[in-house]
């Protein structure tokens, strides 16, 4: 009798834990880049979302972000992933319209700078880590709007803008050493669950 109850409890918990495991969603996103050395920028992109358990999800994203400043256009391509942890799982708040989460992950980035004065270009690859907070707004059992803000720190070579003292910049130089650069990425995305992977 006791064994039966324990087994029922175990399988009940297991089912509850993995009920949403394998959910696969696709989404589109707009990203606002703030507080970077280049200035504020806007990005467009998309993401795939794969859920591993009720409390753990993952976003696999790609963004194209452009930051315009007085003399330089800076284009970033971000490809990365974030792990989303739900401190309040949906099993505990099934009727909830909102699901908050903590996110952290990695990202590879490609940056190309273009001088607006003479169209000179320079580019470099880099890597980054990001962490932040977000919330899903469930529009239906399959669709959600997600708002998130993550701070991303790049370890990268810097592209320096060169020019004569007091004159307009006329060259770009990829510095030899690596430096840390950061920016806040605020993203709004729409996601729709199109199936289950397992």
């Amino acid at each position: 009798m006791k064994k039966g109850i324990l087994l029922s409890l175990f399988f009940g918990l297991l089912t509850n834990c993995v009920a949403q495991s394998g959910d696969f969603s696709l989404g589109v996103r707009s990203t606002f880049s703030l507080f970077s050395d280049d200035g504020a920028g806007l990005g467009s992109g998309g993401q795939a979302r794969i859920r591993f358990s009720n409390s753990l999800n993952t976003d696999w994203f790609a963004d194209y972000i452009v930051v315009n400043s007085t003399y330089v256009r800076s284009s970033y391509a971000h490809i990365g992933w974030s792990v989303l942890y739900y401190p309040i799982t949906q099993s505990r708040s099934a009727a909830a319209k909102w699901t908050p989460y903590i996110a952290t992950g990695h990202c590879f980035d490609y940056n190309q700078k273009t001088l607006l004065t003479n169209q000179a270009q320079a580019s470099r690859w880099g890597s980054a880590v990001q962490a932040g907070l977000g919330v899903h707004w469930h529009l239906s059992p399959k669709a959600d709007l997600t708002l998130s803000s993550q701070y991303m720190i790049h370890l990268t070579k810097e592209i320096e803008v060169m020019g004569p003292l007091g004159g307009l910049p006329d060259a770009l130089l990829v510095a030899k050493g690596t430096v840390f650069e950061g920016h806040l990425l605020s993203t709004i995305s729409f996601n729709y669950q199109i199936g289950k992977l397992w």
Partner: protein, 161 residues
Amino acid sequence: MYCAALTLLLATFCFGQETQSPKIFHFFGTYSPSIRTTDAAWGFYLHGNLSVYLQKNLSVSGDLFSLKQQDGLPVSGQQSVFFGPEWHHYHHQHDLSFGMQPGLLRQTSYLQPLVSPFLSYRYFVHPYLHFFVQARYVYAPSINGFSQADWRFSGGLAFQF
């Protein structure tokens, strides 16, 4: 012959009295006047749309704009593309919808990310046809105080299935 045509017309008209919101997708092609927010320059876009319905009140829309004229002068090589969700609120033959789409502007030498909220109204006149009007704001970051951000207005006939 005339009787057959009249019967077909009557049948179409009668059939058209039943409200039929789209089940799978709708699409349209139209011209779209625009006004740029920075300098109030008027433009004309060629605008194409395809929306696929995920649920009765939710669709994903793809929109393609090609700028054909700005301030009375012909323009080529400037396209913008958008993709994102749209929420529908039906009432009888009417549909008021709101959407928000990330997008990209392609100019001759570079790509610029965009974001565009929009409002649409549809009036269903037939199981396969509806009239529509749409107003959208396209936000583009400025370069040295100049931005490609504009308002775009579309309207006309659309097809639904």
